[in-house]
Symmetry: C2
Subunit: 93 residues, 2 copies
DNA sequence: TAAATTCATCGTAAAATTACGATTAAAGAT
DNA sequence: ATCTTTAATCGTAATTTTACGATGAATTTA
């Protein structure tokens, strides 16, 4: 729970997740181009998302293709939504 | 967005939100009793949640009664859920 | 084989986070 | 008026986070 939220609690990492969700092409370099951060910093953020289990990277020649780990991400979404639903005053049945 | 997630990205603060959501009595001291942290540390976490706008505290005599800021919390929930829905591969219509 | 490309890792610095005890301020009780 | 209770704030230490440039490893290209 906190692990997932922590992984998402940074603007750069939110943008990475959005970018991976919206684009099929997901090479590391593409993400670097999108973010106003250095290559090494982006690589660090990708590593944190990977450590949280939210994304996975696959080596493809000289490049690395990143994508959302759909199964894990679905678990994270369910976990977070469960928390949100349990704490909101307006109950949706 | 990141502001909300950051505020929630700590086990203690998640517990505080859960506790505030489930109990009507919400004095600061009660929260201190529930968490395995010192009074000053809990006070700091409460401050962060308040800075993020998620909770509000009202002085009641010598005690302070905390509760979730329902309007702000609903906005946060909607924002987070919007993000989650937009990034999940399984779309729910 | 040599050069270039891509990206992870290393080393490091600055800033933020987390935690605690001590102190302080405000209100209530004696 | 003094003491007690409650909770915020202060000061501080340890850790973590964030960011960068430099370096290194792996693969592709020339």
């Amino acid at each position: 729970m906190a692990k997932y939220l922590k992984a998402l609690a940074h603007p750069a990492r939110i943008l990475i997740m959005k970018h991976l969700a919206s684009s099929n092409i997901c090479f590391c370099g593409d993400i670097v181009d999108v973010l106003p951060l250095s290559q090494s910093t982006v690589s660090q953020h990708l590593k944190e998302l990977k450590n949280a289990g939210l994304i996975k990277g696959e080596i493809e020649g000289v490049k690395v293709c990143y994508c959302i780990d759909d199964i894990q991400w679905q678990i994270a979404i369910t976990t977070i939504q469960g928390f949100l639903n349990n704490t909101q005053s307006i109950k949706h049945y």
